[in-house]
């Protein structure tokens, strides 16, 4: 059916405006049209600033003070203290660093690996079947379960946690990249490049790769959000980042027993986590709507 003549598209004609290109969003217009990106971005920037500079201004997040354990929020310790008398405020501020690092590390690594694997899978037919079976297998194992198993079996370090959260995310990336590659490789401009003797790796890098960037940025924000959430759940279950590192998940996990006695231990990191993940997701939604609303179905 490739040779059916079609008009340039009904909506274009209806609106009598030339088809806009997705590749040149004017930033000001973009923010104006999508206030969610604006507000989400501001929120996220604040969190990033807190993560970077916050710990410079707070007390020591790991200093023990058994005498002052489980004290409610006060002028001295704004978010109260935990069961070892550590300052929850300092810990929550420091936790922002941990959560963001985990979120970023997971999304960047997962996207990078998934990008390579997805491109290979989408372009090299011989490997496609094998790779996709492995990805199907990986995808069929519930992510959290896989992460818990990996971590508790290989020992909890920052590295293993990031790896364990990342591995279940890879199939999503691979599938997305592969679907983009499969659809873009049929584009006439890709065929034109092939017809003019462009080598495979150049075709992939010049013509196909750029098409994956927009959806990948969006997916990366979602992965970042869900990685932070997963980190907290792992921490809660007791299979997360080493507990001496005050990640939000760990703080909440340690406050678990004291939920009714000292709710602030769970409340503040919970709020911080929810706000951060919310900001990340809102930015992701905004980017998705801006870059390509149709991505929604691929994710």
């Amino acid at each position: 059916m490739t040779d059916t003549p079609t008009s340039s598209g009904k909506t274009d004609e209806l609106l009598a405006v030339p088809p806009s290109s997705a590749s040149d969003p004017n930033l000001a217009v973009l923010l104006w049209r999508h206030p969610s990106i604006f507000w989400g971005g501001i929120l996220l920037s604040i969190m990033v600033l807190i993560a970077i500079f916050g710990p410079l201004f707070t007390g020591d997040p790991i200093e023990l003070n058994p005498i002052k354990r489980l004290k409610p929020p006060s002028g001295e310790s704004w978010f109260g203290t935990d069961y070892l008398g550590r300052d929850t405020f300092a810990r929550v501020i420091y936790g922002a660093r941990v959560s963001l690092v985990v979120g970023l590390a997971v999304s960047i690594i997962a996207v990078s690996i998934g990008l390579v694997v997805g491109m290979v899978s989408g372009y090299i037919r011989a490997l496609d079947a094998v790779i996709m079976r492995v990805m199907d297998g990986l995808m069929s194992i519930p992510g959290i379960l896989l992460a818990i198993a990996l971590i508790s079996l290989s020992g909890a370090t920052m590295m293993t946690v990031v790896t364990a959260i990342m591995i279940p995310e890879i199939p999503r990336v691979v599938r997305l990249v592969r679907s983009v590659v499969l659809s873009v490789r049929e584009e006439p401009y890709v065929e034109a490049a092939i017809a003019s003797g462009t080598k495979l790796h150049l075709v992939l890098i010049r013509h196909i790769l750029p098409n994956t960037i927009a959806p990948l940025i969006v997916l990366a924000t979602y992965i970042c959000g869900s990685a932070m959430l997963t980190e907290s759940i792992l921490g809660f279950i007791g299979a997360g980042i080493p507990p001496e590192i005050p990640s939000w998940g760990n703080i909440m996990s340690e406050g678990r027993t004291y939920f009714q006695l000292s709710p602030w231990i769970i409340f503040y990191p919970g709020i911080a986590l929810a706000i951060t993940v919310l900001a990340v997701n809102v930015v992701g939604d905004g980017l998705r709507d801006t870059l390509d609303p149709r991505i929604a179905r691929k994710m």
């Binding site: 059916m1 040779d3 059916t4 009904k10 209806l14 009598a16 006439p188 017809a195 003019s196």
Partner: protein, 548 residues
């Protein structure tokens, strides 16, 4: 306003007066349509013609009340349906009118029908909404209208889903649905554009027939002057949201008054092939022998379902010559083109370029021959990488073959001149160009490779008629200038007549006829060729002043 407007108002089913619709902020102009006035009388077919962006569809959708009101706001004028003002009606009131007193059919019947509902039910839905009929009565009536639009075995088709029908049948279902309640006004928005030429002829015939029998007023939107010539009683010509000319069909087509109309008419390619210089037959640039492409193979578990997209195709194109490949969708003409460019691998046969068979070469061995065959695609919006400048796109190929960047840019600048664009435009991105300009860039990109063979795969099909003429001229020009062998793939017999030295007609993967263009058009030997030519709309009409 013309003098007989006042008189006609009484019998008008649709009367549009001074309609102005505002575009949302940020569009390239303020109004989608501006001060548009025309009438559609009962029993009359009024064609609204214009190129893309002329506002013809907006007008139609405004009448139906199907425009998104927050984006497109009617700010002035009135729209009277059988005397009732539509613009002031509430959504509920409009809903009652739609289907009952005005109905619409669309360009692409495949997408216009709900894919998950039986077609019979979709027609019945129309009755269910507007009439108090029982289910039994509805079904009877559905079968009646299906019979009315000449659908074979309506009882059986009733229970079919859209994807099980052919394109023509689907459009008949749409028409049946639109006419189920015998509305006074039928709006047809490019209803035959997506159809093959033979089907198109049948559907046009059907619309005319039905309209005649039911006395319906038809507002027919099209960009194809052949169709206009076939069907129109009166013609409204629109440009940039304004009506530039209207009048009886014969007058507008035969002796257009407005310069724009005249230009349009002049651009319509004639079905009569012009005289062309004879071509040196001794210089074959491309030869295909016994070319076959079969899809579908035996998988481990799948039963083999084979499709012969191309069967035993033989062709020769000489330097300086244009070979046209004509056929309807599914005829295999694009498959042949893509095999020759080796975007797909032929299943069997030989493709000889400069004495070498490239049919079975691997990618590495093939690369040196890539430059000899270049292709220009149909869709100008997808043929250029939107993220790379025009210059980058053009120099990519030559640089693959060892040209330095400077030399490649020099060549690109030259070629931009050749295709009629400013060399300075190399720094720009594709979205800054119109469709016709992009197609020129694609031609420049192909030429940059210094090919021996240029394949134009429906290269002008997506363009407006005025742009189409220019691009055709350019193609013919470069063929001569660079002594190219050109393979011109098209479904449009008019276009083929203008540029091809020889013609090859394909049907279901097989070449059914081959010969010099003038001869084939004058005396087709194969029945299929005959039917194609007979179906070409407006074949008996001369567009524009004959003198021009």
């Amino acid at each position: 306003m013309s003098r007989d407007d006042a008189k006609r108002t009484d019998t008008s089913v649709l009367s549009i007066r001074g309609l102005t619709v505002r575009l949302p902020e940020g569009a390239d102009r303020d109004f989608a349509v501006e001060d548009v006035s025309f009438e559609v009388g009962a029993g009359e077919i009024v064609c609204v013609v214009g190129e893309s962006g002329s506002g013809k569809s907006v007008t139609a959708h405004t009448v139906m009340g199907l425009i998104p009101r927050k984006d497109l706001t009617p700010v002035a004028g009135e729209v009277l349906l059988q005397g009732d003002e539509l613009l002031t009606k509430s959504e509920t009131q409009l809903r009652a009118l739609r289907g009952e007193r005005m109905a619409m059919i669309f360009q692409e019947p495949m997408t216009a029908l709900n894919p998950v509902m039986k077609v019979g039910d979709q027609i019945a839905e129309m009755l269910e909404i507007h009439s108090p009929m029982s289910a039994q009565e509805r079904n009877t009536r559905v079968l009646e209208v299906m019979q009315d639009v000449n659908l074979p075995e309506p009882e059986q088709l009733f229970h079919s889903y859209p994807h099980q029908l052919s394109g023509g049948q689907r459009q008949r279902i749409m028409i049946a649905m639109a006419l189920a309640l015998e509305p006074g006004l039928l709006i047809a928005d490019e209803p035959t554009t997506a159809l093959d030429v033979t089907t198109q002829a049948q559907i046009l015939e059907l619309i005319k027939d039905i309209q005649r029998r039911h006395g319906t007023g038809v507002m027919f939107i099209t960009h194809d002057f052949g169709v206009v010539a076939e069907i129109a009683d009166r013609v409204i010509v629109m440009q940039h949201g304004k009506v530039v000319e209207q009048g009886a069909a014969a007058e507008v087509i035969g002796s257009p008054q407005h310069p724009y109309t005249r230009m349009l008419m002049a651009s319509v390619p004639s079905l009569t092939p012009p005289a062309r210089e004879a071509v040196d037959v001794e210089r074959p640039a491309l030869t295909a022998r016994n070319l076959n492409k079969t899809y579908g193979s035996l998988g481990w578990f799948k039963r083999g379902r084979e499709v012969h997209a191309a069967q035993n195709v033989e062709l020769v194109v000489h330097r300086g010559e244009t070979l046209g490949v004509v056929g309807e969708s599914g005829s295999g003409k694009s498959t042949v083109a893509r095999c020759i460019v080796r975007l797909i691998d032929p299943t069997a046969g030989e493709i000889m370029i400069a004495g070498n068979n490239i049919a079975g070469l691997g990618e590495r061995a093939l690369r040196p021959y890539r430059r000899d065959v270049q292709i220009v695609f149909q869709d100008p919006y997808r043929s250029l990488n939107p993220r790379r400048t025009v210059g980058q796109s053009i120099v990519e190929g030559p640089m693959n073959f060892g040209l330095t960047k400077q030399d490649a840019i020099v060549r690109a600048r030259d070629l931009m001149n050749v295709v009629g664009l400013s060399p300075d435009a190399l720094e720009r991105f594709p979205h800054q160009f119109s469709g016709g300009q992009r197609q020129r860039i694609c031609i420049a990109r192909a030429l940059a490779m210094e090919p021996k063979v240029l394949i134009a795969d429906e290269a002008v099909s997506a363009l407006d008629v005025s742009v189409q003429a220019q691009v055709l001229e350019l193609l013919d020009d470069v063929r001569q200038r660079f002594d190219l062998a050109m393979l011109f793939i098209t479904h449009d017999l008019r276009v083929a007549a203008q540029v091809c030295d020889r013609i090859m007609v394909m049907q279901r993967g097989v070449v059914v006829e081959q010969g010099r263009t003038a001869e084939v058009y004058a005396s087709p030997s194969h029945a299929y060729t005959k039917s194609l030519l007979a179906a070409a709309p407006g074949r008996n009409t001369t567009f524009g002043a004959a003198a021009e």
